[in-house]
């Protein structure tokens, strides 16, 4: 179904209602008599006046515009858009979890605390860490908590370091988290193979450096072969090593950040551990640390004793609480379910198949698109549309055409070190048939760039909206409905 673009406000008809309430059995009260004038609004809010059927039909139609892993292949690089097993949903909906109030006394929430304790233990084992906080609500918040722990660690040792090193291929969240934690960000160059430029690292690694943030494999989908050398170098200068765990899917059961010399590592449960991603979220970004950083973990920490499980608040060196209550608990249930469903061998197979799928796709597309950093790759590969750009077809054009051919687009223009980047991460949950169909579409587009480029420039034509004017949207954002305004008219609608 295409072309539906109404706001619920635009369906409003004066006097229409979708409810019927019984007459009140107490006298009506005048709000003016009960509340101070300053707390009363001058006029009634202009809420949409709609029937129950209007509401049901409106949201059903919007839901049919959804595009997600449950309907389509979604090769968005660096996002690990794998299938989210429905068993996870069943477990998260168990009454004992779903209806548990977060302030239920510990004695009456032992099952939930046990799940949190065991999930923390399992994540620590998977990453080679000694302790885990489940609180952060997203990868970036895990990063921030991790960098704050590193800062607390240095300060506890009487060291006031000021800089954090971040490679130029890093996710944008790395410099952002670092800056919010009060550090100056120093960008490191990539070398010709796409890894960290060791000379540049040595040059910048002085006594002011609190940490290096590194992503393994990196955003080019390449394993950093000198990671041990890099972490030793950092430790020798008193700097900590933060591992961005966004790409953990590629190394599950093969190696562990802790064994690579990393001191801190976050987990994107909504990537590697199959909790819903994006609109179906929320996310969850637990953070793991080595023993020397454990005193600084956010409070509270779930502990286990002979008396059962409890929340430990008595942690004087803690960076404090970073999230409401105990984190996004429903996501913890889903991730726990996934880990227990897969088991150690299953998780190892995840990484093996994610790598195999990415390399298969890379090999099939290599003759048709430039590959600035040749593989073999890990869980994702980054092509450049620079060959197509010479024909007037940019990475964004390729992305738009893919929508017409029934696929979500790869990440575009990231990482920044690749010109006209197309970053493709198939994940382990896709079949060979799906990968082949996607490759066929990409190859068709490469051919169209040479023969019928207008087809690509016109794309997408099959979606509910055509090309949106993203420049106008960014320069003059129009973010909400305002009373009395005529419905927006866009020339991009079909």
């Amino acid at each position: 179904m295409t072309g539906y673009d109404k706001l619920i406000f635009e369906l409003s008809a004066p006097g229409r209602v979708g409810y019927s309430l019984p007459a009140p059995d107490v006298p009506n009260a005048d709000p003016k008599a009960l509340l101070p004038a300053k707390h009363l609004r001058a006029s009634a809010p202009e809420l949409p006046e709609v029937s129950e059927l209007d509401v049901v039909r409106h949201y059903s139609r919007l839901s049919q515009l959804n595009y997600g892993v449950d309907t389509h292949f979604y090769p968005l690089g660096s996002c690990t858009m794998k299938y989210n097993p429905k068993l996870n949903e069943d477990m998260a909906r168990l009454g004992g979890f779903a209806r548990l109030h977060p302030l239920t006394p510990e004695a009456h929430s032992q099952g939930a605390l046990q799940l949190m304790w065991e999930l923390g233990r399992d994540l620590a084992e998977i990453a080679g860490m000694d302790a885990v906080s489940l609180q952060p609500a997203a990868g970036a918040q895990g990063e921030l908590a991790g960098v704050l722990m590193i800062r607390a660690y240095h300060l506890a040792r009487g060291e006031r370091r000021t800089k954090v090193l971040v490679p130029d291929s890093a996710h944008g969240t790395n410099p952002a988290s670092t800056a919010i934690a009060g550090y100056r960000v120093v960008q490191l160059k990539s070398d010709a193979e796409g890894g960290v430029d060791l000379a540049d690292l040595e040059r910048n690694l002085d006594q002011e450096v609190a940490a290096l943030m590194i992503t393994v494999p990196n955003t080019l989908g390449l394993f950093e072969p000198r990671i041990l050398e890099i972490s030793e170098l950092c430790h020798a200068r008193g700097a900590q090593v933060y591992m961005d765990g966004a790409n953990l899917n590629a190394i599950l059961g093969i190696t562990r950040p802790g064994d690579l010399g990393c001191d801190v590592c976050h987990f994107n449960l909504h990537k590697t551990f199959t909790t819903p991603h994006g609109g179906g979220g929320p996310g969850a970004g637990p953070v793991g640390v080595k023993a020397h950083l454990e005193p600084f973990l956010p409070t509270p920490v779930v502990t286990k004793s002979d008396d059962g499980y409890e929340l430990d608040w008595k942690r004087p060196q803690s960076i404090g609480k970073v999230q409401a209550f105990w984190g996004n608990f429903g996501m913890l249930v889903r991730a726990y379910t996934y880990i227990r469903t897969m088991g150690p061998d299953g998780l190892r197979a995840v990484a093996d198949n994610a790598i195999l799928n990415a390399n298969y796709l890379m090999k099939r597309l290599e003759p048709h698109y430039d590959l600035p950093y040749p593989g073999p790759c890990m869980h994702e590969c980054v092509f450049s549309a620079r060959r197509q750009k010479k024909l007037g077809i940019a990475a964004m054009d390729v992305a738009k055409r893919l929508l017409d051919l029934g696929f979500y687009a790869p990440s575009t223009y990231f990482p920044l070190v690749v010109e006209e980047a197309l970053m493709i991460e198939p994940t382990e949950t896709e079949s060979k048939e799906t990968l082949d169909a996607f490759c066929d579409a990409m190859i068709q587009i490469a051919r169209e760039a040479e023969s019928t480029p207008q087809v690509i420039h016109d794309a997408p034509v099959t979606t509910s909206v055509r090309r949106l004017d993203q420049t106008l949207a960014a320069r003059q954002p129009d973010l909400r409905w305002k009373p009395g305004r005529a419905p927006a008219v866009s020339d991009t609608r079909v």
Binding site: Y413, F414, L416, V417, Q470, T471, A474, R475
Partner: protein, 130 residues
């Protein structure tokens, strides 16, 4: 080549500087704005801010990416192009003219020697530009 006027000096981060006496007008190159695509937001320092050569002085955001802007020369910000806040597209339309960003009161004129000439900058771009 008209894309890289010979009266300008260039950085490897794709800024240009036009030295006029003890002041330098600063912006980003044609190459930079092409790579960025449509510029949608620019953050510039206030007049009077001290800037250092090759340290970030501001931020440019396009539909594709957010990038730091680096000062070609050290000194103090003497003028800021206030029009860019309302019309960031000037950076795309006229990067060496109406798309200028800052005028810097130069503190170390000899720093200009470290910048690239138009010819050197074009050679740098030919080798990949980063």
């Amino acid at each position: 080549m008209a894309n890289y006027p010979t009266d300008l000096k260039y950085t490897k981060e794709h800024e240009w500087a036009r030295v006029e006496g003890n002041r330098a007008r600063v912006g980003i190159t044609v190459y930079a704005q092409e790579q960025l695509g449509d510029v949608v937001f620019i953050e510039l320092p206030k007049v009077g801010t001290k800037v250092s050569q090759m340290q970030a002085f501001g931020v440019v955001e396009s539909v594709k990416a957010v990038s730091d802007l680096f000062a070609p020369l050290s000194g103090e910000v003497a003028e800021v192009n206030a029009e860019l806040v309302k019309k960031p597209e000037l950076v795309n339309q006229d990067p060496y003219g109406k798309g200028w960003m800052l005028v810097i009161e130069i503190s170390s004129p000899q720093q200009a020697d470290a910048l690239l000439t138009a010819q050197q900058y074009e050679e740098f771009l030919a080798k990949g530009g980063h």
